[in-house]
Structures are given as C-alpha cells and as structure tokens.
C-alpha cells in the first residue's frame, strides 16, 4: 500500500506544496486561482483530454488540499472564496470522511469483470460459447459477446478460449478495497460506502487516475502555527525513520520543525512504551481470567475493521489507548498546548477526530508535513547536523521495542517480551485482507493465539499511504538502528 512516487502522487504533492507556499507567503487568497496553470506549466503530464478538464480536476484537488469537502463547493464558488473562508472561519476544521472521490478524475473504468478483447477471432470451435454454463455468450458482429444479465463471472470462458482473448479485469480501487466499500456510482463512476469504509486509504494509492484522494489538514496546522497564543507540539510517529531523506536524523528534523513554528516535538514511541506496559498487564489479566485472545488497539484501520465487519469480536480489542492518544493525554495534563500528530497514516485522522476527545488537534501525514516545510522554504538538507536536538525536544528516549511498533510484527514482539513467557502465542496479520482472514479464523475458533496483532497496511505503518520512502528502505534503517 505504500506509495511509489507515481505521476498521480506527484500531482497531489505539488498541489499541497503550492498551497503551503501561498499560505506561508500570506498570498493564499491572491494566488490560489493561478495554481492550476502553474502546475501545468511546471510539467505535469497532461494525460487528460484537454487542459480544461485537467484544470477542473486540479481545482478539486486544491479544495481537498484546503481540507474542505469539494461536493459542498460547486463550480460557481471560486477557489478564492473558499480560501478566504478557510482562513477566516474560526470553526474551520476538516472532518471525516477524509477519503474523497474526485468524480471528474474517475475514468469510469469498466465495472464488468469478464471482457472479450479484440484478440477474439470468431473461431470455429467457439469453446467460450460451449463452456458457458449460463448461455451468456453469443456471437455478435464477428466476435464473442457476453450478455451481462446472464454472466455470473465464473471465468470458465477465460480458460476455454484458445487465444486467451477473454480476460478478467477489476477496477483497481475495487481490488484494493477488501471490505467492499467501493461501490459503483452514478454514470459508472464510483462511490464510497462509508458504512463499510475503514479509512485505510488503500484506494487512494491504487487508483492510477488519482481519482481518490483525501482532505488535507495543512491549513489547520498552518493557522495553529501562526497563532502567537498557541504552543504547538509535534508528535512524531515511530515510523519517522528515514522519511525525510536518508541523511535527515531526528535532530535535524527537530530544527526544521522549530523553524516551522512548533514549540516542541515528542516521539510517539514514548507513548508506545506505556502501551506495552498497560497492554501487557491487560493481557496477563485476560489470560488469568481465561477471557480469550486480545487484539492490539493501536491501528485505527484494524480497529474499524473489527467494529464494522466483525462486531461479535469487539470485546477482544485491548482497551488501552493508542500510543498517539497516550502521549497526548500525558502532555496535556499540565500544559496548555495544541498537538499535531505526524505519521504515515490517513486513518489516524479519523481516530483523532472521533476518539481523540480533543487530545489531538490535527493529524498530518509525513507527506503533508514535508509539503509544509517546502512551502515555508525550509530545506532540511541544508540544516547542519548537530550532536543533540535543539532545546527541549525529545525529552525521553523510547525503547527500540517501542520504535518497532511501526513494522509488522513489532507490536506482537513487544507484548511477548513484556509478558516474558516463551509459550505465549502471538499471531500477526498485516494488510486488511490478511486481517480479515485472521479474524475469520478467530470467529470460527481455528486461530490459536493469546494475542493477535492486526495492521491495516502491508508491512505495518512503514507501508502506510502517507509515507515518503519505500517500506523496504525503512525496514533496513530500523534494523540498522536496532543493531547500533
């Protein structure tokens, strides 16, 4: 699920960067209408039929970058007007659902799964016609034709054709979504069924037209940073290693955050250390009372999966708060602060909004933070390396075990170490599909484990949709750090 930097990714990042740069130069309202033209002239591949459409799509992307729901702002309302509203309205706050489909960008790809291609030669054998159990195939205009009403998508004709002229295709967004939250929309576009959606954002990565994207919170954070009465604290997710460039360590990043206006930064792994202790205690109790298997509570997509699709298993979820909420709660005990969680995750935006009880004021992905840095003219590569962090940053030192929360298997390993019993049975699943399989086994009692670690993203958080480096690279860096 992690990003490879496709053309689609680049466009989204360019839009974020341009919005951020206008924010920091106090030119948002004056300059916003010229972003589409600027991006096109900076060399965005014009893969749309015309510039008119390209610009219309870019305008929708800009609305998302501003954090608003584009559907609430039809074409008559100018970007200028939206920008002004976003900047001046004190109650402005991007809200769930964060995932959004840009109808104009959707290519209306085929919903039909089984398709006859031009390789069909209208042969004599007509094996496709003969094998179809529902008589759905006829020959029309010198080619096999599938009657949609009859087809049950069994795929027998695919195997039967000597030319392999019949293929099975699936919409990439559909394939990426394991919970059937992507449904056909009007005029053969798509829609999200938010009752099923986990917010994992796998579809945003999967759509090759970039038609699925998310509302950004960069403007929210900018407004907080610019408010002199506000102490804004950055909470950095365990997966931060290497995300801002291989030579950018935590201290350099802290310097950059300070320049951006953050008063302080904390490593969320510190909260993970606390979670390990509390979840460990909870599990011990569960085992003693014979209460059955426990699930981790740190991954919001996994938690949503249990809540929405396996409600009978809700009691298995640990009641310990996630590391993000833990650390925010501790920091807020004795300080008047604002907190911004910075991580690889879009699902955390929903967690912060719905479960955060005001503990978290905004969530940024690594991508969004980087766009803000670039927009503010901060180049981390030009900040000299220092031996220590500036000022009060990173007050405590989290354990390696806690830092490993961000890779698949890391939470399970931490719990195992905490409990200290060799026979403790840990299972882990990463990626929604794998989580579903594991939960199905729990449901039919065929999974024998004391603790199930479920991660919405393949590879764990380092495979998240808001990351900037490949999970393999992050994994390598983590292993290296652990050994040093």
């Amino acid at each position: 699920m992690a990003q490879i930097v496709s053309e689609v990714t680049k466009i989204r990042r360019k839009v974020l960067k341009e919005v951020a740069s206008l924010l920091f130069s106090n030119q948002l309202v004056a300059g916003i209408e010229s972003i589409p033209q600027k991006i096109i002239s900076d060399g965005v591949h014009s893969y749309r039929c015309c510039q008119y459409k390209e610009k219309a799509i870019l305008r929708e992307r800009i609305k998302l970058a501003l954090g608003v729901n584009p559907a609430n702002y039809p074409e008559e309302i100018t970007l200028k007007e939206i920008a002004a509203e976003v900047l001046t309205n004190d109650r402005y706050k991007p809200a769930p659902p964060f995932i959004y489909i840009i109808d104009e960008a959707c290519d209306h790809c085929s919903i039909d799964k089984i398709i006859v291609t031009n390789a069909c030669r209208n042969c004599v054998a007509h094996s496709c016609v003969n094998t179809c159990p529902r008589d759905a195939i006829t020959i029309v205009g010198n080619q096999a034709f599938i009657e949609r009403e009859k087809c049950i998508e069994c795929g027998l004709c695919i195997k039967a054709c000597s030319y392999r002229a019949i293929i099975e295709i699936e919409r990439p967004c559909n394939r990426a979504c394991s919970v059937e939250a992507i449904v056909p929309g009007e005029k053969s576009t798509v829609q999200i069924n938010y009752d099923n959606c986990l917010g994992c954002a796998a579809c945003t990565v999967a759509c090759p037209f970039g038609a699925i994207s998310f509302k950004s919170e960069i403007t929210t954070v900018f407004k907080m940073l610019r408010n002199p009465g506000e102490q804004v604290i950055a909470l950095l997710a365990p997966s931060l290693i290497g995300q801002f460039g291989l030579s950018i360590n935590e201290n350099i990043l802290a310097d950059g955050l300070k320049k951006l206006g953050f008063a302080d930064a904390y490593l969320v792994a510190e909260g993970a250390d606390q979670v390990i202790r509390e979840e460990g205690a909870e599990l011990r109790e569960r085992i003693e009372e014979n209460n059955g298997m426990m699930f981790n509570s740190c991954c919001p997509s996994f938690k949503q999966l249990v809540h929405k699709h396996f409600p009978a298993l809700i009691d298995h979820i640990s009641t310990t708060e996630s590391p993000m909420l833990k650390i925010a709660r501790r920091l807020r005990e004795d300080q008047q602060i604002k907190t911004v969680f910075i991580g690889p995750c879009i699902s955390k935006k929903v967690e912060a909004y719905e479960e955060g009880q005001g503990l978290i004021d905004a969530v940024l992905t690594f991508e969004e933070l980087t766009a803000l840095l670039v927009g503010a003219g901060i180049n981390l590569a030009e900040i000299p390396e220092k031996a220590s962090s500036p000022g009060p940053y990173y007050q405590s030192k989290p354990s390696n075990t806690a830092e490993n929360f961000c890779r698949a298997g890391g939470v399970g390993a931490a719990i195992k170490q905490e409990i200290g019993q060799d026979d403790l049975r840990i299972e882990s699943a990463d990626g929604i599909e794998a989580c579903i399989q594991a939960l199905n086994k729990v449901k039919n009692r065929s999974l024998k484990a004391d603790f199930l670690e479920g991660m919405g993203c393949q590879g764990g958080c380092i495979g998240g949709p808001g990351t900037l480096i490949k999970p393999q690279v992050a994994r390598r860096l983590l292993t290296k750090k652990e050994k040093s």
Partner: protein, 81 residues
Amino acid sequence: MNDQKLKIEVCVGTSCHLMGSNLIIEYLERLSEKVKAQLDIKYISCMNNCSQGPQVKVGDCQLANATPELLNDRIERILLQ
C-alpha cells in the same frame, strides 16, 4: 582517472525529496559495480530549481522532473558512446 568518470549530481533537498529523489538514489545504488565504477556520484542539498524536482545533473546537463527511467536513458547513452 576521476575526471574521466561521468559526473552525476543528485539533489536531495527537501523539495526534491518530496517529488521522489529517493527513487533516483535507490536506482543509482542498484547499478552494477561495473557501471558504478564509471560514475562519480554526488548528493547536493539544492540545485536551485526546486519547482521542477527531482533535479539531477548528468555531466553538464541538468535534468528536471527526473525519474529513474529518464536517468537510466541518459547514463546508458553516454556510457555506450
């Protein structure tokens, strides 16, 4: 000897990083030792064309919006000459 090597400069500034300069670095790291021996690779913190990143310089020629494919093309063409 060094002046016969093909000079490659990769911008690793934050703006270029956001646009995927890490993919360029990975591509260069994966080249065979034989090819690497012919290259003189340097990482630069900014090449002053941040709006069209990633920026990569091959010899005297600066590439904008660079991708591993584009760079591979250039390197092959020059080394095979």
